[in-house]
């Protein structure tokens, strides 16, 4: 879906401020009353990112803002900008979408192509929370994957929260309590930062094999959110995503088999970037 973005303002003007280079483009001014920020960045099984992308599709959500950060690198670990379709520049940014459910719940959906680099995660996610505060976000929920060795088709979702009261809200909607361990990267950090910044916060993790994009893990997370926010989620979106992933995996397997049958040496690809 190609979306025209017209910049209507910038809440963060501090390119080169004390914590780094940041800039915010605002495409639509919103004034939620008590919204929930749902973060879905790439991680185990791409569960969080897939979940947020599917929610964006479900709501046909509109982009409201885009955060540039010097700590957002390309997926291959380089600093720079991507080129899509051979000509279009693709910036590595954190993108925010706004959606409201039929029952009046307001959601800010946050996603990106990559996570901020380790050493810039506190700084970048603090900027995100500053922005969330300006939108009067009340609750921050990060979505991610919980890797297990053996998984079936039906998956569960686990939750850890900033308070026992919030845990209960999630368990009433079908999530199981995560008892111990660590939640690493941006998925853990944003809710940790939110908890010491007067937001309610929770991390919701869908069980995944963690090896490749896992829409079934994302579905486990969406099922909980569906009950909690009365989203009335269209399940055909997940079904289609599952088929897409299975088709890609099948193609990959077939290509590998062909290469191995022919005994062909895998040629080193040309460098996909310019320096």
């Amino acid at each position: 879906m190609k979306v025209e973005r017209h910049i209507v303002g910038s809440l963060i003007r501090d390119v080169g401020d004390e914590l780094g280079v940041f800039s915010l483009e605002v495409y639509r001014k919103i004034s939620p009353r008590k919204a929930t920020l749902l973060q879905g960045l790439p991680g185990l099984g791409l569960v969080g990112k897939l979940a947020v992308e599917m929610l964006i599709e479900h709501f046909s959500a509109e982009p409201v803002a885009r955060l540039y950060s010097e700590y957002m690198f390309l997926p291959d670990g380089n600093v720079g900008v991507g080129i899509s379709n051979g000509k279009e520049l693709s910036y590595i940014t954190i993108d925010f979408y706004y959606a409201a459910t039929s029952s009046g719940e307001e959601l800010i959906l946050m996603t990106a192509q990559t996570q901020p680099v380790n050493w810039g995660q506190y700084r970048t996610l603090q900027k995100v929370l500053d922005l969330a505060r300006s939108w009067r976000v009340r609750r921050v929920v990060s979505l991610g994957g919980f890797a297990m060795d053996r998984v079936g088709e039906e998956r569960e979702a686990y939750v850890a929260a900033s308070s026992k009261a919030l845990l209960r809200e999630f368990t009433k909607c079908g999530a199981k309590v995560l008892r111990g361990g660590y939640v690493t990267g941006a998925c853990g950090l944003i809710v940790g930062l939110a908890a010491i910044s007067d937001f309610e916060s929770a991390t919701l993790l869908g069980v995944t094999h963690g090896k490749y994009p896992d829409p079934r893990g994302a579905k486990a997370v969406i099922d909980v959110l569906d009950k909690m926010y009365k989203i009335d989620f269209r399940t055909e979106i997940v079904e289609r995503k599952i088929k897409e992933v299975e088709k890609t995996l099948k193609l990959t397997r077939e290509m590998k088999e062909i290469v191995s049958r022919r005994g062909e040496a895998i040629q080193r690809p040309e460098y996909p970037y310019t320096v």
Partner: protein, 247 residues
């Protein structure tokens, strides 16, 4: 460029010229365990928590630690206050700061401590040893030396360096103009409660406070059970040779 740090203050009580006692997660966890045990048994109040972008999880990534009840916390420094005799500020952290920012990260803690005008700093550490149980000290000045000698504590260091946050604390104490002692216990296991006990015993004699140590017995049994389980799951061969640092 500045860096991300957040201090949450829980108490505004005045601690005049306290002795700062520091213990970080290191060899045998003796320093950290000693601070946490003393904070609990002395009913020390929480003075502040300091969050730093340089405190990562043990897996070398950012993130949160989830407790058994399903609630979570970011890694942080915690400062406890004891207003008895002597007045003490007890400092610990959930993890070590990342190696490239140990000083920067600890400096936020030291600059917080400066307002109390500390009398001196005692850093609790451990070193790996198969020999007899003992504590030795190294000192940056003459502070407390007479008492240490009277107590018969060895000044013969068994190792060549004090590393990471413990070592940086000794350096920063000097830079802040505070006398500093490092008390180091011999350590024989991953979570060494006996090492923790001799550190607390030594410190209580040195500073003249009394503390109930009987709960350490139960902790020792638990640690022993945990270590047996770890050995069963992941048998390892101890590495031979001289360990030349304190953590």
């Amino acid at each position: 460029m500045k860096y991300w740090v957040k201090t949450i203050r829980y108490s505004n009580r005045e601690y005049r010229n306290p002795i700062v006692v520091i213990g970080f997660p290191g060899i045998g966890l003796v320093g950290l365990q000693a601070i946490r045990y003393m904070a609990e048994k002395l009913n020390a109040e929480k003075v502040a928590e300091i969050y730093s972008e340089y405190l990562y999880l043990q897996s070398a990534s950012t993130g949160i630690m989830v407790g058994p009840d399903g609630t979570f916390t970011l890694p942080k420094y915690t400062i406890y206050g004891y207003s008895g005799t002597p007045s003490m500020l007890l400092v610990e952290s959930d993890t070590q700061p990342v190696v490239w920012a140990v000083y920067k990260s600890l400096d936020t803690v030291f600059s917080f401590l400066r307002q109390f005008r500390p009398k001196g700093v005692i850093v609790l550490t451990g070193y790996s040893s198969r020999g007899e149980r003992e504590v030795f000290y190294v000192a940056s000045s003459n502070w407390m030396l007479d008492k240490l000698k009277k107590l018969g504590i060895s000044s013969r260091a068994k190792v060549g360096s004090v590393i990471m946050a413990a070592g940086a604390s000794i350096v920063l104490s000097k830079l802040y103009g505070w006398p500093c002692i490092s008390l180091t216990a011999s350590v024989k296991s991953a979570v060494d409660i006996e090492g923790t006990r001799i550190l607390i015993e030594t410190l209580s004699k040195l500073l003249g406070f009394s503390i109930e140590l009987s709960d350490l017995d139960e902790m020792a049994k638990e640690a022993e059970r945990a270590e047996m389980v770890i050995k069963l799951i992941a048998p390892t061969t101890p590495r031979e040779g001289r360990v030349d640092y304190i953590l």
